[in-house]
Structures are given as structure tokens and as C-alpha cells.
Symmetry: C2
Subunit: 272 residues, 2 copies
Amino acid sequence: KEILSVKPKSNNILKYSERAALCSNGLSRRLFTIMEQKKTNLVLSADVTSSKELLQLVDKTGPHVCMVKTHVDILEDFNQDVVDSLTKLAAKHDFLIFEDRKFADIGNTVVHQYSGGLYRISEWADVVNAHAIPGPGVVQGLKKVGAPKGRACLLIAEMSSSGNLATGSYTQDTVKMAEENKDFVIGFICVSKISSNPSFLHMTPGVQLEAGQDSLGQQYLTPSEVIGKRGSDLIIVGRGIYQAQDPANAAKQFQIAGYDAYVTRMAEAMIL
Amino acid sequence: KEILSVKPKSNNILKYSERAALCSNGLSRRLFTIMEQKKTNLVLSADVTSSKELLQLVDKTGPHVCMVKTHVDILEDFNQDVVDSLTKLAAKHDFLIFEDRKFADIGNTVVHQYSGGLYRISEWADVVNAHAIPGPGVVQGLKKVGAPKGRACLLIAEMSSSGNLATGSYTQDTVKMAEENKDFVIGFICVSKISSNPSFLHMTPGVQLEAGQDSLGQQYLTPSEVIGKRGSDLIIVGRGIYQAQDPANAAKQFQIAGYDAYVTRMAEAMIL
């Protein structure tokens, strides 16, 4: 079992609201503002396969999250109503919608995948993500579609799965690609802080209250490890919430654990 | 403008039928057999956005191809009938169906993306592909769904787009991941021969009759360059066929160019 490498502790002592003021993209400004107002750095990974279940889960956990991450392509019964209802819930509970599509094709193809097909992702997802592997064309293609609509993109710079190849120079090249597209790329999927630019969001998947691993290579870290030690900004939690007996209460526990870790990190940074 | 690196000329003198006999996966055996019988190493990349257009294109070009590559998630009007019609055309013209999904998530997620959602890809696609970036879990997840159905997977070891990160040790790690899953992974998306194992298929996208580049970073190579100099096995052609005035004739030209390059390579290898 491998150990994900630990990066040095963040020396960033800016509050969310102070970082919001540094962002050039409207959606990252809005996200930092929501995080401070709702006191949460929790992203719900809503990996359920029925729309009814998705909407119930999101409505229950909405008060505790700043963002809901979807995989609409695993829903058995996706239709336009689902998107409309999700958008209403986002307004009701004040969170952003992030479709975890992991775009990973050449520019010309992602243009169609993002705007077209049955899912028309660009019509409703505030934020999408992409792998950097196809080179800058993937960001250019997504930006062509998303920028005029005020959307934003995260680049996957590191992964939480065992034996993944998003390490070393791959991660560095991804950061560079983000820096060259700061108006549209607002941050990273990563397992620790990888950029000192305070306008970039660092979002970490594979978070549980106990560390561990699943049977298909996913590795889990705790909120205090992710936010406190690794200097990430947001925790992405899936099975720890939607498989819980009481998802709303589980979300609340993650909200508290994640926000406490942020407050503690800030306090420690100020003392040191 | 960067130049894609040229690998040494292939010394492989095995015919398609001889390589078919070395495959452990039934689908790669079948593909090599189709290639020899139909005298084609051409894969049509059917990147159109209407189902009617897709089916017409595939019916016209079917006699010239051994495989049709789809992006069902860019079709405006996907439904079960499209898949049924495509499957009938595959039987009529004897080709395999390859959904270019580029799976790139952790094992637990790709299980759902491959088997579920509106597209139910595992129900109709003979072959899918995946990026190696998430680590072995992505192959394990896909295999769990696809192997019992007799499906197969290609790993994306190299890309044709400018500035892509699938190079060097990334490519080598991908080859290793394929070798460890030879029963399910039948080859690579790549820009040149990267494995000396004759059972692996090498498939190269970004092929046109003239070399060049599009406005979003795609770089084009010719059939003789891809098959002759770089030692790949199959050419993947999209815009060169579906944007042609006469797609059937364009497909025929690529079929001839690709197969001639294979015959010439074999002849040269036997002489040298």
C-alpha cells in the first residue's frame, strides 16, 4: 500500500474572502464567498445512480456544502428536469454545480462533448474539470464553449487513486497550463497544495473520516490531513456521506471537520 | 510547431493472420482477421452530431473499414435505435464498434460510467479506451464490467495533439499496465509502435492524406508515415472522410493508402 507524498505545510494565511478579492474568474470569487458565508469547504460527490436519490441527497445535504459534484453519465434516468431541479436546489442552498466529466480529448472533440450530446453540460454546470494530458488544446476547446457562458474549469493535477501517473513533471506541467489560462482555469483537483497563487482553488477527493482504501485502488485521507497538513482548500466527499445512515448529519460532520481544519491551519500559520 | 518524435522502423514481419493466432483476447483475434479479409487497417472516426448522418456515413464507408470509432456523447439525438442500427451495420459490413470514451476516472466510477447512464456503453461497444493516468484501478474497473461480456480495451499511451503529456515514462507505464492486463487490454492509442508484443494493436489518430494541424492543436500525419515509418497497425481517420464531398470514396482512398503502407512495410522488412 503506497503512501501519498506529504507536501510542506501551507504558509497561506489569507481568509477565503481575501482570496476571493484576488480572483479574476467570477465563479472562484463566488465560491470563496460562499465558503466563508456558509462556513464550509465541503464538496459533496453525489455519485448515486437515480435522479430521485440525487435530488433528495442534495436537498438534505445542501446547507452543509459549497459545491455539489455530479457524474450525470451514471444516472439511469437523466433528463432536463433533473438539471432544472438541481439548478433550483443550487439557488436554494447557495452552492455551485461541478460536473466531474474529466474531459480528456483533443480540443475539437471536447467542444462537442461539453456543449452537445444528451447532457449539454455547458448549459447547467458552473464548473467542469479536465485532464491536462491532451495538452493546452483541451483547455482552449473548453474555454471556447464555457468562457462566454461565465463557466470555469479545474485541471486534474494529482489523483487519489493507487498507482496513478499524475505526479512529478506531469503535475508541474498541469500547474503551468492552469497559470496560462487563469481566466478560465480556477484551480486543481489534487491531493495537496501545488500552487502558491492564492486565487487557485485546491480540491481533494478521496476524503473519509478514517484513512483507508477501497477494492479498486481509491485511497482515503482525513479532512484534517487534507486541509491542515496538505494545505488543500476543499474536501470532496462521496461514499462517506451518501452511504451514511443519515447523509445530512454526515455532511454536517464533514463540514465541521473541514472548516475546523481550515480555522486551525490559519491560526497556526499566524502564530508561526 | 513541434515535430512528433519518430520511432525506429518496425521489424515486425508477421501478417495480420499470424498475429491473430497469438492473441488471447477474442476481439483482437477477430479484428486482425477482419483486417486481412477486408484488406483494410482503416478505422473511421465518425465524429458527427446527428444519428441519421452517423448511420448514413457508416453504411457508406462500412466496406472500407475494420472498425468504427464513435463519440456517442456528441450525438444530439442518441437513443437505443441508434445503437441497434449501428450493431446491424457492424454485422452487415463486418467491423468492430469502438466507443472513444477515454475513461479517466477511478475504478469505482468507471464501473458505473461504462455499464450505466443513458449510454450503457458496455452493452454495445466491442471496444472502449482509457487513459492510464488514474492507475491500474481504471483497467480493473472496466475489466470487471467488460470481460464477462467479451469486450476489450485500448490504453491511450500517446496522443496526436500538440503539447500533450503522454510521453516518455508516462507511455512506458501505460505499456506496462497493458502487459499486466493482456486478457482485456488489446493494444494502444499511440503515434508509433511502442510494444514489440505482436498481439498488441497499435492505433494512430490524427491521420490525413496531407500532414498539418487544426486550430485547436490536433496534428496530422499521413498513412505511409504512420504505418510505414512509425510501425503502427491502424490509421484512425475522421475529418479526412466525413468532411469529404464523397466519404465512401475518401474512405476507399485511405483504405488503399493504409493497406499499401502495410504491404510495403512487410515487403521491406522481408528484404532487409
